[in-house]
């Protein structure tokens, strides 16, 4: 490297020339894509393989960390005896009911918050205050009101979803540029027409984002509730299997719960993407 005092721009010519990515752009893209795909699948597979080897070699305590193949066998077994399928169904049913009630009420309240000034003034501080309360902490109260059974679980799940969606919808509507509202009003659109032509479609991307957050969270809440309250579902299957010391079945339950979470989040975001194709330019 040149000493700064002797640096002269004319000492060496600077050449800008194509690199690998420019000489073969299509091949470069394809190679890069392949490497990324291999890493995405390869990393978890490698970790499972490592786990399997460690379990076989007795490097880890298989009583607490059974080998992946043992977990897989336990999974098959629990599907065969019907316990996993009925637990999965019970959890999914609660998830769908609670999520639907929570999002529907969240849409309504969120829309009111964003469009009716006095409603917002009256309720927004309260909603934000309640938003930060850990909903699981309300469980004892709900058990007192609704007794044991599914109702307190559904209420708590709906409430958790409701807060995320209501505040998300309100934010999404408020962030619609006023220029779009002006455009509709300049054509003398009625309140209902503004809602239909501007507010609903304009807020959809933001609404979708909050629903995606709520969908992941609702799986957490429902499984957590089942762990605490019991009854039927993946959470209680995980907990009871652990109590009777069936670690492989416990892990199988955890895996099914996480797959349910991924599938549910994916379904929700795919559904919302279909509704607002304009939000993301297709690539």
């Amino acid at each position: 490297m040149n000493a700064p005092s002797h640096h002269r721009s004319s000492e060496a010519s600077v050449v800008r020339s194509p690199g690998a990515a420019e000489r073969d752009p299509v091949g470069f893209q394809r190679r890069r894509r392949r490497i990324e795909l291999a890493l995405a699948w390869g990393t978890p597979i490698a970790l499972f393989a490592l786990w399997q080897i460690a379990a076989r070699a007795d490097a880890i305590d298989v009583r607490f960390f059974p080998a992946p193949t043992t977990i897989f066998d336990a999974l098959i077994e629990s599907i065969d005896d019907g316990s996993m399928t009925s637990a999965l169904w019970a959890t999914t049913r609660k998830l769908l009911i609670g999520f639907s009630i929570g999002t529907a009420s969240g849409w309504i309240v969120g829309a009111l918050l964003a469009t009716v000034r006095l409603f917002r003034a009256a309720f927004e501080p309260l909603l934000i205050a309640f938003y930060t309360v850990p909903k699981l902490a309300l469980l004892p109260v709900l058990l007192l009101i609704f007794g044991f059974g599914e109702t307190p679980q559904l209420v708590l799940l709906s409430v958790s979803v409701f807060f995320v969606v209501a505040l998300g919808v309100a934010g999404a509507i408020r962030s619609i540029d006023t220029g779009y509202l002006d455009a509709a009003r300049s054509f003398e659109a009625s309140r209902l027409q503004v809602l239909r032509h501007v507010i609903v479609p304009g807020a959809l991307p933001g609404v979708a984002a909050s629903m995606q957050v709520a969908s992941g969270m609702s799986v957490l809440v429902v499984v957590g509730l089942e762990l605490v309250v019991g009854g039927e579902g993946l959470g209680s299957l995980i907990w009871t299997s652990w109590q009777v010391f069936l670690p492989a079945r416990t892990y199988a339950g955890v895996i099914v719960a996480s797959v349910l979470g991924v599938a549910f989040t994916f379904a929700v975001s795919a559904g919302m993407r279909r509704l607002s194709p304009w939000a993301e330019p297709q690539d």
Binding site: D177, D182, E188
Partner: protein, 279 residues
């Protein structure tokens, strides 16, 4: 400030004005109980069928005037009276500088918007929309989403939507300001043809004196804030005219005259020691 008083009434205006503004004033609430006088008091009369361009320094309240006419903002004093009189489907439509067209609607659905709101019969609406898509060269993009279009195409959609609603009065708020100079000239020429073919009243806000002279029958110059009308010029070119008047000697003379009036106001608006000056 003593702005020269200007007689804005002409013989035809007295006969049949579509818009009459009398003492229109708009004051905005600012922080800590202060208020800002944005506009007026301003008087203007627009006769039916006239194309009026309004030029003025930034922040002089010309957009506010247009928004009051459109019913988007109310005046704090005075009034704007709009008198429908033709057989148009609706009183007015507005074209915005940006954000006018909805990114969640296809080009066709955007152009249809005004007709949808009025519950126009489906077949009629389809025919009208197709006609305006064709006139603005949007036929091939009818089903595209606005996000995939260039700025010029998007503004064509906004213009098509306004014309498709068949308004008596067209309000245009710097519709070409976001476009590059070449595209701007092309869209000016297209608008000139459309306006001459359809005979509508237009209130057109712009920063460009050339744009104002090419398009308008009459150019109003507004003062710096609070905006008043300080000059009212009739454009010395008849209709139908072609965009070639840009090279005419009278064009240059009017441009000079307008600029002389406007320049003072622009400088006044940007001098920091004057109250109500630069923002």
């Amino acid at each position: 400030m003593n702005a020269p008083t200007v007689d804005t009434t002409t013989v035809s205006a007295r006969a049949d004005p579509i818009l009459t503004a009398a003492g229109v004033t708009r004051t905005f609430a600012a922080r800590r109980g202060h208020t800002i006088d944005a506009l007026g008091p301003l008087d203007v009369t627009v006769p039916r069928g006239q194309f009026v361009a309004i030029v003025g320094p930034s922040g002089c309240g010309k957009s506010t005037l247009l928004r009051i006419a459109a019913g988007l903002t109310k005046p704090t004093a005075g009034s704007v009276e709009l008198r429908p009189g033709g057989d148009s489907r609706r009183l007015l439509a507005m074209v915005f500088q940006d954000y006018g067209i909805f990114p969640w609607k296809s080009v066709r659905a955007n152009v249809r918007f005004g007709l949808d709101l009025m519950a126009t019969a489906r077949l009629d609406a389809d025919a009208i929309v197709d006609d305006w898509l064709d006139r603005l060269g949007l036929g091939a993009f009818a089903d595209a989403m606005p996000g995939t279009l260039s700025g010029g195409m998007r503004q064509r959609v906004a213009i098509a939507r306004a014309f498709a609603a068949d308004p008596e009065l067209l309000l245009m708020d710097e519709p070409f300001a976001a476009l590059d100079a070449q595209l701007r000239t092309i869209l000016q020429d297209e608008l000139l043809d459309l306006v001459q073919a359809t005979q509508r009243t237009v209130l057109f806000i712009t920063h460009s004196l050339d744009e104002a002279i090419v398009l308008a029958d009459r150019v109003l110059v507004m003062s710096s804030r609070p905006g008043r009308i300080i000059a009212d010029h009739t454009v010395p070119f008849g209709r139908p005219r072609s965009a070639e008047i840009r090279g005419d000697q009278a064009f240059g003379e009017l441009r000079e005259e307008l600029w002389a009036a406007l320049r003072r106001e622009v400088e006044r608006a940007h001098r920091p020691d004057v109250d109500g000056g630069s923002r």
